[in-house]
Amino acid sequence: MEKFTQLTAIAAPLPLANVDTDKIIPARFLKTIHRSGLGVHLFDTLRFDEHGAERPDFVLNREPYRRAQILIAHENFGCGSSREHAPWALLDFGIRCVIAPDFADIFYNNCFKNGILPIRLPRALCDALIDDVAQGDNARLAIDLERQVVVRPNGQEIPFEIDPFRKHLLLNGLDDIGQTMAHAGAIDAFEQNRAAAQPWLPKTTRA
């Protein structure tokens, strides 16, 4: 997983609430067996018309937002399915950070597993950032994860909250399976205790 430390990049405004995972990546593109390559289908129905031509008014089809690495949206971003194809598609397009008033739980989790930083900011601040980045080529924001701030084009810093453990994993690009493997002894002991306390439980599985 790629580390996330600092990012200065174009931010695209997407002032929509309830952007669901079917909007981010429609189900018909889930037939892949690999993680990469989904970026071309990101926001497919919003980005392309029924003949596959770009919809010129959609933000990611306009300059400079075609090169956006940050997305700013409204409430409940990523609601719907648990499909990790949603963060994969965002990442494959180049998005490394999504800012919104709040996120659906599973999507929020999935972001961290893929090196994407989801930032929760109050709606008024999201709208202020959307106003900032609507100014074409000045549409750049800076994110500093170490210091937990979003820097506006005018230099003002907006602090954000993030779970320390998740921050640590992102900053170091750590895979959490490796972290958990360090607890293998505790998992073994847990399994044995559980089987002893509820002897019927192990009999409910078949190899």
């Binding site: 067996i33 399976i177 958990t180 019927w200």
Partner: protein, 468 residues
């Protein structure tokens, strides 16, 4: 934790392997259900790291999302779907994971077959790379959807790193009126609290109306807890639960079953347990419901009308409603019961159980699907299909002009060939009415199985109570 605890607290506490300094818990996972869409990249990751599956026997795999629902003895024609199913078959063989093959009668939608086989049991932690894992919460299990990275994490370690969710209780008090079903209860709840109403919470459904539901109904309710934004849904296990589990293939048998029931009885929330959020809904107010927009919270009784965006004071919401009505091809003020439908879909993990098919057949009996309407019935599993055929429900439905198909997710998400075409309008017993969910440009109205059957007969959205 001391003091009175909720059902969720008890299951959670029972599964904490370790608590990390920041409060994140390493949570033990009892059952892991795997399907073909969200697992290939997880197995790919294990292979790359040279890691085995820690407990293959606690894992069960099935292909459901993009299997064809027509005759499939000759395999899967669509190359990408075939590749996903073949990849799953290779992965389960390589890693020794139990698997129900496509032609096995136990094959079906992952959330139907887990409970059906007794693989999902009360008090367990159950995960699957699929948000509707919340379905299994109907048994009194903590069941939730995870992403593919977490699928890989569970395969490798049988645990997950999790933050404890908050407790929410939704009490559905009193008695649901005749003609209203479990689907109407959950749609009414989502209408009341919104699609973010349960975010960060595990919802425990309580109250007489929930107690009165059979297991199928409880599964319908918990299935859509995710549509209310919740991490999971739960119903405390009771006699209805134990009777239903008894004798299922993977369930404990004989003295083991008795021992298990003793443990399960202790899971119910303690009197005085504290919830972070409490909502109460009067069951008597719940009529047969139908959605009119592209979010499950956009719902109204079938006797109602399409809302008028002009009446919405918040400009953002007003714009959203307008956008939805354009997509849905609806007029403000239009009567819901006058909206014509092109397609009816009865199935999915929300409403693909035998009880759902019985409810549809009861309406279809002796009637005809309206001209020009395509009506599909897709059983949730091979065993549901077999049971329905033993009861003659397939004959009733076929004679009425419904299609009777092979089990799978089908038109719930349009990954196989069962799709809406642009502009087509469906009454669907599934769980999501998002834009394009059932096919690009397709328009979805979520309803109960009885309401879907009534729509098929009437050729428009219709009040099932008029057909009883």
């Amino acid at each position: 934790m001391s003091g009175p605890r909720t059902l969720f607290d008890k299951i959670w506490d029972d599964h904490v392997v370790e608590r990390l300094p920041d409060g994140t818990c390493l949570l033990y996972i009892d059952r892991h259900l795997v399907h073909e869409v969200t697992s290939p990249q997880a197995f790919e990751g294990l292979r790359a790291a040279g890691r085995p599956v820690r407990r293959p026997e606690a894992t069960i795999a099935v292909a459901d999302h993009n299997v064809p629902t027509s005759d499939r003895r000759h395999g899967i024609a669509e190359p990408e779907s075939r590749l996903q199913v073949e990849t799953l078959e290779r992965n389960v063989a390589d890693f020794g994971v139990p698997y129900f093959p496509v032609l096995d009668e136990r094959q079906g939608i992952v959330h139907i077959i887990g409970p059906e086989q007794g693989i999902s049991l009360p008090g367990m932690t159950i995960v699957c790379g699929d948000s509707h894992t919340s379905t299994h919460g109907a048994l009194g299990a903590l069941a939730f959807g995870i992403g593919t990275s977490e699928v890989e994490h569970v395969l490798a370690t049988q645990t997950l790193l999790q933050k404890r969710a908050k407790n929410m209780r939704i009490e559905v008090a009193g008695q649901t009126p005749a003609g209203s079903s479990a689907k109407d209860i959950i749609l009414a709840i989502i209408g009341a609290i919104g699609t973010a109403g349960g975010t960060g919470h595990v919802i425990e459904f309580t109250g007489d109306a929930i107690r009165a539901l059979d297991m199928a109904g409880r599964m319908t309710v918990c299935n859509m807890a995710i549509e209310a934004g919740a991490r999971a849904g739960l119903v405390a296990p009771d006699e209805t639960t134990f009777d239903w589990i008894k004798g299922r293939p993977y369930a404990p048998q004989g003295a083991d079953f008795e021992a298990a029931v003793r443990y399960w009885r202790g899971l119910a929330s303690d009197p005085g347990a504290v919830y972070d959020k409490v909502v109460r809904i009067e069951a008597a107010t719940i009529a047969p419901m139908v959605t009119w927009g592209t979010s499950p919270e956009c719902v109204a009784p079938i006797t109602g009308a399409v809302p008028d965006p002009a009446a919405e004071p918040d400009p953002t919401k007003r714009a959203e409603i307008t956008r939805m009505l354009t997509y849905m091809g609806l007029q403000p003020g239009q009567k819901l019961a006058e909206i014509p439908v092109d397609v009816v879909f009865i199935g999915s993990c929300t409403n693909g159980r035998i009880e759902d098919i019985r409810a549809a057949a009861a309406i279809a009996r002796g009637r005809r699907v309206a001209r020009g309407v395509r009506a599909l019935v897709v059983p949730g599993s091979g065993l549901v299909k077999k049971q329905a055929e033993a009861e003659g429900l397939d004959r009733i439905l076929l004679e009425a002009g419904f299609e009777w198909r092979e089990p799978g997710c089908s038109m719930c998400l349009g990954m196989n060939e069962d799709k809406l075409t642009p502009g087509q309008r469906a009454a669907s017993t599934s769980n999501r009415n998002f834009e394009g969910r059932q096919g690009p440009g397709g328009r979805t109205h979520l309803v109960s199985p009885a309401m879907a059957a009534a729509a098929a007969i009437a050729g428009r959205l219709a009040d099932a109570r008029e057909f009883l």
